[in-house]
């Protein structure tokens, strides 16, 4: 089943073109990795999917993004962002307690029943595999957690809202290898329930967790293939050059 159908998507920031005529699909329950050197439009692409790009006043967009057949620009923006959870490059806890960080989104969507909020927070923390580490310190500031824990807390916060897709924007770029492994493990388990789009600077990470991998270069989609295929016999020479480390 196709989750996202992206048709001829082009994006400009003022005069500079960030995405050039990208057409691709994201399947349900897959991890789609998006790789490419910096400035290749990966993050811009990701932020189009949950309409966070709407905040950029200088941005111009052409083409279409369909989510389950519906043009996301005709959908309620809050609903789009509820369905497309996002985890940012740096762990960004809100200046609240651990509990309130996860409860924030739930409350904002109108849940006031205390029991239901507590239940939703616990489930989300368990899903993000951080419950055992934080269950005795839920009222502490989220800033007291380590970087890796903070990032998994951010994943829990995203899950608590009940998304269908999770967009990861280089989620491990600020983390050590052990924390990275934990986040990756979490992603692999989440794939059963969610569709994941993972933007990463780390080619090896794409190889480890991605079902399919898309290679972006200078705003163009160069190649989109099964991860095994793209890492063993890519169709394009430029893809091969990038994944083998000749540039990037």
């Amino acid at each position: 089943m196709v989750k996202f159908d992206i048709q001829n998507l082009s994006i400009w920031f003022k005069e500079a073109q960030a995405l050039k005529d990208v057409t691709m699909q994201v399947e349900a329950h897959e991890i789609l990795s998006v790789i490419g050197p910096s400035n290749s439009g990966k993050t811009t692409f990701l932020r189009t999917l949950n309409r966070l790009n709407d905040l950029e006043l200088s941005l111009r967009m052409q083409g279409f993004v369909y989510f389950e057949g519906k043009d996301i620009r005709t959908m309620d923006v809050e609903l789009v962002r509820k369905k497309m959870g996002m985890v940012f490059a740096l762990p960004l806890p809100l200046p609240l307690s651990i509990f309130d960080n996860v409860a924030y989104g739930v409350r904002m969507h109108g849940e006031h029943n205390k029991k239901k909020i507590i239940q939703a927070v616990q489930e989300a923390l368990q899903q993000a595999y951080i419950w055992d580490e934080v269950k005795d310190r839920l009222s502490e500031s989220a800033f007291k957690l380590s970087g890796g824990q903070q990032q998994r807390l951010c994943i829990a916060r995203t899950l608590a809202v009940g998304p269908e897709v999770i967009l990861f924007d280089e989620p491990c770029s600020g983390l050590d290898p052990i924390s990275t492994a934990k986040v990756e493990e979490t992603m692999l388990k989440l794939k059963e329930q969610y569709t994941i789009v993972l933007v990463t600077n780390n080619v090896k990470q794409a190889a480890r967790v991605g079902d399919r991998t898309a290679f972006f270069l200078m705003g163009e989609l160069i190649e989109l293939e099964k991860t095994d295929k793209i890492f063993t016999s890519p169709a394009q020479a430029r893809t091969n050059d990038y994944i083998s480390g000749k540039f990037g």
């Binding site: 809050e78 940012f88 904002m108």
Partner: protein, 283 residues
């Protein structure tokens, strides 16, 4: 000749320190002088009695109460309007001609001499709205005077809340207003309080804006309603210093001391609240 960078640094530090100390000295001198000359006047009678014998004896109670009314009134009026305007300007307003004109107007409003506010208050509130010379007119005039301070500091406070917090909140599907209400505003409150402190001190101390709008020369009773005239400390101080002959020096300094203490005390409360809130800040 080769320059010695360490000596240059020491000389620079010396002048920086000197400039800093020079700021402290006048403040210290003013406070010391006022306490020294004013403290002997401070008695329970002075604080709680009405002025007597043409303000040459008795107390200053009506002026204290009047100033309290005026300060509370002006904050009550300026704080909500100022904060709402600041939210609009920093969160909602598009960067266009109108916004630029509004921002320019606020900057200019801050530069208007206080006596002009007094005349404006006289024309608008006293005469046009027929509030008469009253606490209401005076509070509104002082409120307009401190609006630019509150708007400017509130805007700075709102804009200093990291952009990433807003993005996170929006990305969870919260609406823009929810983001402002639950994330931006709580983290901006310490900064907004700073603006309120500055405004408070200014409203308590200004004489010119209340001159035509509320201040009574001599009114030895408490105001009965917000449509009543009132005495106020800064104007009372001006009157007993220049308009009434043969007022004892210690009464004048005593009045100044009470005004100063009131302003400092109000500041202290706001600073304590701010410090408490800052401690809660978790980033």
């Amino acid at each position: 000749m080769k320059r010695n960078p360490y000596r240059t640094q020491r000389i620079a530090f010396f002048f920086l320190l000197l400039a800093t100390l020079l700021i402290v000295v006048p403040v210290g001198l003013i406070i010391v002088a006022i306490i020294q000359k004013g403290l002997p006047a401070i008695t329970w009678e002075f604080l709680s009695d009405v002025p007597r014998r043409g303000m040459r004896s008795g107390g200053i109670f009506p002026a204290v109460v009047g100033t309290l009314y005026l300060v509370s009134g002006s904050i009550l009026f300026a704080l909500p309007i100022g904060v709402l305007a600041a939210i609009y300007l920093s969160e909602y307003a598009k960067q266009n001609m109108l916004t630029r004109i509004i921002k320019l107007a606020i900057v200019n409003l801050a530069g208007v001499p206080s006596v002009v506010y007094g005349l404006f208050g006289l024309a608008l509130f006293v005469v046009f709205f027929k509030f008469g010379a009253s606490i209401l007119s005076g509070s509104l005039t002082l409120g307009i005077m401190i609006l630019p301070i509150i708007i400017t500091t509130s805007r700075e406070a709102l804009e200093s809340v990291p952009y990433s917090f807003r993005e996170v909140s929006l990305s969870l599907g919260a609406s823009k207003w929810q983001t402002i209400r639950h994330i931006v505003l709580p983290n901006a409150i310490p900064g907004i309080l700073t603006g309120t402190i500055l405004g408070l001190g200014r409203a308590a101390g200004e004489t010119a804006p209340i001159l035509f709008t509320v201040a009574a020369f001599y009114l030895p009773r408490l105001p009965k309603s917000i449509f009543d005239q009132a005495m106020a400390l800064p104007y009372h101080l001006y009157v007993i210093s220049t308009q009434v002959p043969n007022v004892d020096e210690k009464i004048r300094y005593g009045t100044a001391l009470v005004l100063l203490t009131m302003v400092l005390f109000m500041n202290l409360i706001a600073i304590i609240i701010r410090a408490k809130l800052r401690k809660r800040k978790k980033w």
